[in-house]
């Protein structure tokens, strides 16, 4: 499209193409510039590598914290019976009445399973476990109450929901009172959410650092190519044409940095695996470390690409505008 000379045809330039092929050619050009800018990074391998490693490390830290949270969550989800509710039934109740209660409770949608432990059963267990066996025989009567153990469904295992369920159960007329040991569960959950919050905060800080690092790297490369940008502007390059290679560089930094971060997390997990297995062995648990899966790799990469794009975009918008051909 010639602005000044309407009749001037542009000699096989992109201008006399129709819509679809124009789009095709601009896409082709975009991809070509992407490959070019990758080659450009290859020309200064040390500098590019350093930037990539800094980015990789900045992304590794939040990724690692994320993995830690994920694993802790996994461990804590193993403590589902933590939210078991013990219901002490009234003493005057006979066995048949207790059985009806058990059956009625089993119909609750909030409850997964119900089990009944009679006082004699409880005493027997207590004798075995406590080691007071002989001493207990001296008791005149069984001091233990009849207990109904209630396991809520997953949704009602969370401290608050379990508390609500407990209140509801206590309203049953056969129930003397109920007990829910959730203090430590509340503490664990509080710790977990603290951990999550700190991962979020640290992550936010480090991700802003990534934007700044990429922005600054791109700024330096813009300064380095000042003369080239001036000449391009002189021969009539559009801003989009001048911006694209720098944007691409930012995107590449993101892609490779994100991949470096992923690899370091994988390597770290591999390194820790045997140590974790040893700890788990001591606790007789079959806990295995969970790493990052494919989806999380994709999220990490797209996050890194987004950051690379933002960083370079900010620099490109800010600095290329100021480079004009006349200011030599």
């Amino acid at each position: 499209m010639s602005l000044l000379f309407k009749s001037r045809n542009s000699q096989g330039g992109s201008n006399n193409r129709n819509g679809i092929s124009a789009l095709y050619f601009s896409l082709l050009n975009f991809i070509r510039q992407g490959i070019n800018s990758l080659g450009e990074m290859w020309r200064t391998p040390i500098a590019s590598l350093m930037t990539i490693l800094v980015l990789g490390l900045s992304l590794t830290l939040p990724a690692t914290l994320y993995v830690v949270v994920k694993n802790v969550q996994q461990v804590s989800s193993g403590f589902s019976d933590a939210a078991e509710i013990s219901l002490f039934v009234k003493e005057e109740l006979n066995d048949a009445q207790t059985q009806t209660l058990v059956k009625r409770l089993a119909l609750y949608p909030e409850i997964e399973s119900v089990s009944y432990i009679s006082k004699s059963q409880a005493l027997k267990e207590f004798k075995q476990v406590s080691g007071f066996g002989q001493a207990l025989d001296y008791l005149d009567e069984n001091p233990l109450p009849n207990v109904v153990l209630v396991t809520p469904t997953v949704r009602y295992r969370k401290p608050q929901a379990a508390q609500q369920l407990l209140t509801k159960l206590e309203a049953e007329r056969e129930v003397e009172f109920g007990k829910l040991d959730i203090a430590w569960l509340e503490r664990l959950n509080a710790l977990l959410s603290l951990l999550k919050e700190s991962v979020f905060t640290v992550g936010l800080l480090l991700l802003s650092a990534v934007i700044l690092i990429i922005g600054n790297t791109i700024r330096l490369s813009i300064m380095d190519k000042k003369e080239e940008i001036q000449v391009l502007k002189l021969v009539g390059a559009t801003n989009a044409f001048i911006h694209t290679p720098f944007i691409w560089t930012g995107i590449w930094y993101g892609v490779i940095g994100g991949f470096v971060a992923f690899m370091s997390v994988v390597m770290m997990l591999w390194w820790l695996e045997s140590a974790v297995a040893m700890v788990a062995g001591v606790y007789q648990s079959n806990f295995v470390l969970t790493g990052l899966n494919g989806n999380e790799l994709l999220i990490l990469l797209s996050l890194a690409i987004g950051l690379g794009f933002s960083g370079s975009y900010i620099s490109v918008r800010k600095y290329i505008k100021d480079i004009e051909p006349d200011k030599v």
């Binding site: 000379f5 330039g13 201008n15 391009l232 009539g236 044409f241 006349d326």
Partner: protein
């Protein structure tokens, strides 16, 4: 082709580079722009290539008022103007071919056409054998000719040259001028800023003389000479 109407340019800081300059350059005309250094020659060229905007007055190219050209349209204006510099402004990172191809690459031209046109342009300036060279390995005159090839590679209707012979000896200067005459014969309008008065004297072309930002030479009087 180019028309200036009472164009003034004052730079920030108060320096008046041009004062009420009016002239017209016809289609396909070749003209010289002369004057002592600092007289406003470069400013005048910058106004044509929209590197600067006039403080007052209007500049027209082919009847289009440059004042109405928006900033984002400037690239398209420059694609119609070939610009040649005293320091030729070649990019040392690229070889001669890539330097000359630049205006075509930014237009998104097909690779085959680019090769054809670059070779044609280099042939015109007699440097076809230096296609693969780095600009820094060429002599001053050769570098200037590469710069010219870059300016004409997309056959712009208008050529601007800012002291194109500034660093060259008279013989090479004459050679470069012959090139410009050749382009002019093919219908390209050419405006050459130079302080090389000896060069102008030998050629029968219009010349515009600037003195402290004012145009002092009557074009008609010049033609009588």
């Amino acid at each position: 082709m180019i028309r200036f109407e009472n164009v003034s340019k004052t730079y920030p800081g108060g320096h008046r580079a041009l004062e009420k300059v009016s002239f017209e350059l016809a289609d396909g005309e070749l003209a010289f722009l002369t004057g002592h250094s600092g007289a406003g020659k470069s400013t005048l060229l910058k106004l044509i290539s929209v590197m600067e905007r006039p403080s007052a007055g209007h500049v027209y190219i082919n009847g289009v008022n440059l004042n109405v050209v928006k900033n984002r349209q400037i690239p398209y204006v420059r694609r119609d103007i070939g610009i040649i510099f005293q320091n030729h402004r070649l990019l040392d990172r690229y070889n001669v071919f890539d330097n000359v191809a630049l205006p075509l690459v930014i237009e998104g031209m097909h690779h085959k056409n680019i090769t054809k046109r670059v070779h044609a342009a280099l042939d015109k300036v007699g440097l076809l054998n230096k296609v693969k060279c780095q600009p820094s390995t060429l002599s001053g005159g050769e570098q200037q000719r590469v710069g010219i090839a870059r300016a004409i590679v997309n056959s712009p209707p208008l050529l601007l040259a800012d002291e194109p012979t500034g660093n060259l000896d008279p013989e090479l200067s004459m050679e470069i001028l012959k090139l410009f005459e050749d382009f002019n014969r093919h219908g390209t309008a050419v405006l050459i800023a130079t302080h090389d008065l000896g060069l102008i004297a030998r050629m029968k072309y219009k010349s515009l003389t600037l003195d402290h930002g004012r145009l002092i030479t009557d074009l008609l009087a010049q033609e009588v000479l």
